[in-house]
Every structure is written in C-alpha cells, then in structure tokens.
Symmetry: C2
Subunit: 203 residues, 2 copies
C-alpha cells in the first residue's frame, strides 16, 4: 500500500469507507486518516466529497451491473449451461464483494442525480439481455425443451436468489451458525439456486 501514490491511496480508502458506511455516514476526515494523508489532499485531488464519491459509485455500480447481467446475455453456449454458469459467477463475485449489494441498494434508492447515468446503462443492458433471453426461451419452448417463461421474471428470479443470499448473510449466518462450515454455505447455495431455476425452466 505504501507503493501506491496519494491519489490511489485516497481512492482505496474512500472505497472502503463509502462501501461500509454509505455516503452520509462517511466522514472525509476518516477517509483521509485511513489513507494516511492530510485531509486537504482529498480536496486537492477530488475537489469535493461528492466528486470523490461519484468516482467510487460509478465504477462499483457499473461493475455490479456487468457481473450480474453480462454472464447471462451473451449467447454461444446452450441456455441452460449459461444460466448455471452465471449463477456460479454471481455467487463467487458477491463472495468477493460482500458489501456491494447493500451499497448498490442504498445508493440506488437515495435517488441522487449522480447515479442516473450508471442506472441508465444498467437498464439498457438489462433490456438487451431480456430480449435475447426471451428469444432463446421461445425457441427452446417451441421444441418442447423448455417451459415458456417470461424472460424478465426469470432474470429477476436469478438475481433475487443470488443477491439475497448475501444481503441476508448477517442474519442467515447467525441463524444457521454451526450448520455449515465456512465456505460450504456458498457452495450449497450455488447448487440450490441452480436447482431452483432449472426446475422452473424444465418442462
């Protein structure tokens, strides 16, 4: 970390603080302290708390959208295989970024204008994914290999099941404490979610 320059150290510290506490509860002084720099440096590099936040939020929300949608929408392999793969990737990604879903939700809801472009991009991506999915589902359904489900509902099912495992984690872990060794829950959840989705699709 000492090898990083000041700007990078600030960004890294800001990411950590904003993700953990959200915008309102994060103090710029705390970010400066965590980055090991003078508080004035934040303003020198990023002008204001808002601008610094924007840096973080855009990147993270873009990443989140891409990871949750990207692995589903690009054809090439058969649909069922791709869905299975997407669920695995979702859960691995979330395990590596456990604070992201909450951050995403809080900031999306806060309706600040700074998110509009990022949200616009996600919506655009989602619409494309839904269109592609629906076409595939209809084609498979015509051959009797799949139930004719609505693509937008399927997508919402997958994302709900995958994300909520992590949103509910603080509760879930305390309730299920002892039932699973660490890491096992994630793997079991993967299989569980895949199974749930497949049963929904299979005729």
């Amino acid at each position: 970390m000492d090898s990083l320059n000041t700007e990078q150290r600030i960004l890294q510290a800001a990411e950590k603080e904003f993700l953990r506490n959200g915008y309102a509860a994060t103090r710029t002084t705390a970010i400066a302290e965590a980055a090991g720099v003078t508080h004035a440096m934040l303003h020198y590099y990023f002008r204001s708390k808002d601008k610094l936040f924007e840096n973080i939020v855009k990147e993270k929300i873009g990443l989140m959208g891409e990871m949750m949608l990207g692995s589903i929408g690009t054809p090439g392999k058969p649909l069922f295989e791709r869905l299975e793969n997407a669920i695995c990737r979702h859960l691995d990604f979330l395990a590596a970024n456990p604070d992201l879903p909450r951050f995403f939700i809080v900031e999306i809801y806060s309706q600040s204008e700074r998110l509009n472009t990022a949200v616009e991009a996600i919506m655009c991506a989602a619409e494309k994914v839904i269109a592609v999915l629906q076409e595939e589902i209809d084609a498979l359904a015509a051959r009797g290999e799949c139930r004719r489900v609505k693509a937008e509902m399927l997508l919402l099912d997958i994302i709900s099941l995958d994300i909520f495992s992590f949103i509910g984690a603080p509760i879930v872990e305390r309730v299920l404490c002892g039932l699973f060794e660490h890491g096992n829950f994630l793997e079991e959840r993967k299989r569980e979610n895949i199974d749930t989705i497949m049963r929904k699709l299979k005729p």
Copy 2:
C-alpha cells in the same frame, strides 16, 4: 394529523424521515420541521436522536420479522397451502411498506448495538420456524408427497424472492416500464413466486 399530540406527531415524522434516509442522513431538525414542532421537543420527549431512532427501528424490524416468518410457521393447514398464503401476505405487506426492506438491510448491516435485541428475537423465531418446517417436509417426503428439501434453504428462497421484488423495484420498474400496468406486476409476481416454490417442492 392535527388531532395527534406532539409525541405522536414526532414519532410519525421520525418514522418517515428515518425510513427514507436512514439514520445518518436524517437530521433531527428535519424531523421537527416535518412534525411541525420546535426542535427542542424531540429532546424533551425522546432525550436524543439515538433513543428516538431506537423507538422506530425496534417496532419496524419486529414487524418485518413477524410478517415474514409468522405466516409460515404456525401449522394448522396443509404446508403447501400455507406457503402459498405466506407469499401472498409477504407481497401485500411489502407493497404497503415499500421502504422497509431497504431500511432493514441498512440498519442490520450497520451493526449498531441498538439492534441486537430485535435481531435476537428474529433469529429465535427463525429457528423455530425452520424446525417446524423441516418436520413437516420430512413427514410429507416420507409419504412421497414432497421433495426432501432443507427447510432453511426453502425459507431463504421464499424470503429472497419476495423481498427482492421490492428492493429491486426502482430498477425493475424502469426497465419493465410499459410492460405492466400498476399493480399488475405485484399480482404476477405473486403467482410467479408461488410457482417457483411449488416446483421446487413437488416430487
């Protein structure tokens, strides 16, 4: 609202502000203004911002836990029928309290000590519900009327699907805009979630 006394007016305004903005972003002056009382009154009745918040959060989180768990755990009717009923009640409840899931998540994550008793209560309720559910599932499975699924996974599935429809609502509605008339989405989602869960359970 004019018929309410000062204490109730403060509570009502505080609930609205806290639910919308969360603890950190809510100003006590804003609460006072919304309640139409002097700012000093908040401290007269509730001593501090923390104590006022505690009032709101305990009630709301208790309500949330009860609504999400209560309708599942008490036997009497057949399991399948009860699950179907629970999902309907979840979605109706959430439709009437759309800010609650986000509030719940934000405050649970913030790990403040003030939540511990409320969380304790939810955990306790969840464990009982899981035990009862598992017994019923095993009994049905023995007669071949149900797949032998893990109760904690089933519960997590149901809650994920129900809650996330509302957490994701701001995005979902913008993406699906035009596809549904208002209110229809909720009803369709009910049927969808019930179907998903039933397919998971049926042999």
